[in-house]
Subunit: 461 residues, 2 copies
């Protein structure tokens, strides 16, 4: 009776849509108790999916039935990229919305509020408890993509003087508020973070033991300004479920692994987007908006491509004399472009993995690879032309041009992102389409120069 | 006194290499106590990095000093893609190696043993405790990339009849063995999984409460044959730290979020690899091996590119007459290739995100986008040629060819992966280089046909 996940998720989906069907009926019949009973049985993530899928009118009834603190749990699960929060919030009274935002985990509330216009933002901040408003204001200052923007302030920190038994009492009290309690953080009398103890250790140690004696003092921390990608790497390497964020020796927050899962996916989607020259981080369902996202790269590269066209135009007299030269233009530009895209992808990936290698060594390796690939591809095309056209000189000319064009594209594909990384520009700006269009230009220059040299010397025509 | 993570990790690295320096000295001086004291202070991940970086001779001393169960913790942290496990294991006595493998988490041991040759595998299995050997044999049957290959068997499951107090006693006993104890799984008398309770809830509820009364019965489970990518999606959506694996209603394992972090990274790297036509999942430092990984795509596509070359060859008479036609070959193939890569990237990403949309609707949208992009790019190139060459008919011919070539490349880029996905082939096999080389072929066919029509009708030359 094995079932595949496909079936399982379909089943889950069917079950969910059946439940959704009943839930909608309960709302329409104004049957609050039946609705709340069924709704409570759903996972929060499923509640969020259901909530977002409703009409504004149906949502209005739910807002009426749930307290702000209850709706906050649901809003904590909504992906900010999937919906328009302005719309969702404007369906509530400002007081209700402010209270709900204050009850959300700070990092999620901030994610959501950073998209609001300044008037709305100021309104909600003025309506929520002062403490929440101040915390949110502090968070709003952290740049997107930094540890600060990801961290949660709902962590458990206790004094190192406590015994395990006392610590357990504090943990039980704090458990309702905390985002997760895998780790309990230990502070000294000045509030400086000095150690950590897992909940697992806490329940295993005898009540009388001192926290300071059993805590782990070998701490790995990050600071609020750190890049989220580097935080993700540390957490993935060390298999942490949470990591403390420290500023001026004080613990200011904690980043949990669920946020890191999203970061890894987002950063990978960004690298992928740049390789293709199109943003796939947020997918667009509207064809016009989709087209508008793709056009800038395409049109921009047409002008770079015009450079290539004008180089060929400059050799027009050669093509007019020896029209067979035109036959191999797309083969050479295409193959060199493919090689350049490959070395670009490898270089961007190495940078993303934060491999530490000298530029000099990286380039030397890429030159070696380019020479080997260039020679083998050149020999291949030489043999093909020899057989196809039975023309030795043409084979040598095209094969040689191919080899050199591949070497140049290969080195450019690796060199451009490496240099960009060194000077501090995001290396992925060097996109696949950019490298292959640039490589078209260098390839036709190489091709026509080699061809011209052969024609001049051997009078191929 | 803010420090960036870059500095921090550099600092960590410096600290680590200083510690490594002392550790090596302790080994060389045969100072076991000093070594073990310092070594114990490192995080297991850092111990693993240190261990792998040593010479075989130094490692031999560590093997001598550590028990198999201690070395097992370190081996649990080693990434199988980074090292040659055959070498590492052959440095130990077979008995030691077998015991260490038995002490590792089953999923990690299996990952590692699946790379061994069958003789070595049989030897280690014969030397380890029968129970471990049987478990590992069972795991070896699960395909790579399935839930079964990721799951750990070190989870905590208790009977639903227990009280919270009794459950806590069991959890304390089991805590040492379990990979993580965020969740305690609840079984009925037949061993069927009926509920789950978080450790957080367990410590908050009073001792006298019954587990069955407070457990969460709304379970989301996966089965061993499920695709790891789909498991990752569920865990990321629901923010789970662990998910139970169920076969024939019995709980057989648990997948923890640290494994899912690796899966997300690996699956993203796979999509990225295919987009570039080069494997970046495992990066190669050896230039010869690197070149060998890149060549198959390049050489294969040269033969597809020869198709394009022979199409141009077929229109050689046209180029000989009107050599300016050669000028725009690379611009048209390049731009259409870029558009095809964009729509390919979007389609592969949509498939990876498991968006459910009909093929018909997806294609309709992509056709609309292709028409819009094609017209705008065509008009751009028409205007450029009009200004540059002051030739209206050439501008119309090239602009029209460009529009149609982009539309075709755009639709092919989306259509090929969608069809592959529907028939069950991994859609990412349709790589970026393949789509752009294929688009070269369709583009030159379109270009020369349009040009020929114009020449025949308007006698452009």
């Amino acid at each position: 009776m094995k079932e595949t996940l496909q079936e399982l998720t379909e089943e889950m989906r069917d079950e969910l849509s059946e439940q959704a069907h009943y839930l909608v009926q309960y709302i329409e019949n104004n049957d609050k108790d039946a609705f709340l009973n069924s709704f409570d049985e759903l996972h929060t993530f499923d509640q969020a999916i259901f909530y977002v899928s409703l009409t504004a009118q149906l949502r209005h009834q739910i807002i009426d039935w749930l307290k702000p603190v209850e709706l906050a749990d649901i809003f904590d699960e909504i992906d900010p990229e999937d919906v328009d929060f302005n719309d969702l919030l404007s369906e509530m009274s400002p007081h209700y919305a402010a209270e709900m935002l204050a009850e959300m985990y700070t990092d999620n509330a901030v994610d959501l509020m950073s998209d609001l216009d300044s008037k709305q933002l100021a309104l909600y901040l003025s309506l929520m408890p002062k403490k929440s408003a101040e915390e949110i204001k502090r968070f709003l200052k952290y740049d997107d993509d930094t540890a600060g923007s990801l961290m949660s302030t709902e962590f458990i920190a206790i004094n190192q003087q406590l015994s395990i038994g006392q610590a357990m009492v504090e943990v039980k009290q704090a458990a309702q508020e905390a985002e997760q309690i895998n780790y309990i953080y230990i502070l000294d009398d000045n509030g400086v973070l000095v150690g950590v103890i897992s909940l697992k250790s806490l329940i295993v140690w005898p009540d009388a033991a001192k926290v300071a004696e059993v805590m782990d003092t070998n701490l790995i921390t990050v600071s609020p300004a750190d890049d989220q990608e580097e935080v993700a790497k540390i957490m993935a390497d060390y298999n942490f479920v949470a990591i403390p964020v420290v500023a001026e020796q004080k613990m200011v927050g904690m980043i949990t692994v669920d946020d890191i899962v999203d970061v890894i996916d987002e950063e990978a989607a960004e690298d992928y987007s740049r390789l293709a020259g199109v943003d796939v981080v947020t997918l667009e369902d509207n064809p016009i908006k989709s087209a508008m996202k793709r056009l800038p790269w395409l049109i921009g590269l047409i002008f770079l491509g015009m450079g290539t066209a004008s180089v060929i135009d400059g050799y027009n007299y050669l093509v007019a004399e020896t029209s067979i030269l035109a036959v191999f233009i797309s083969l050479i530009t295409g193959t060199a472009g493919n090689a350049g895209t490959q070395s670009l992808a490898v270089a961007v990936r190495r940078i993303a993995l934060q491999e530490k290698k000298s530029i000099f060594k990286s380039l030397l390796i890429e030159i070696l690879i380019g020479v080997m690939i260039g020679i083998l591809a050149g020999v291949t095309i030489f043999l093909v032309i020899l057989i196809w056209k039975n023309n030795l000189l043409l084979g040598i000319a095209v094969g040689l041009a191919m080899s050199v064009a591949i070497l140049v594209a290969n080195v450019a594909g690796a060199f451009i992102p490496l240099i960009m990384d060194k000077v501090g520009v995001d290396p992925a700006v060097a996109s696949g389409p950019f490298i292959s269009t640039l490589s078209d230009l260098t390839s036709v220059i190489i091709y026509f120069n080699v061809a011209k040299a052969f024609i001049d010397h051997f009078m191929m025509h």
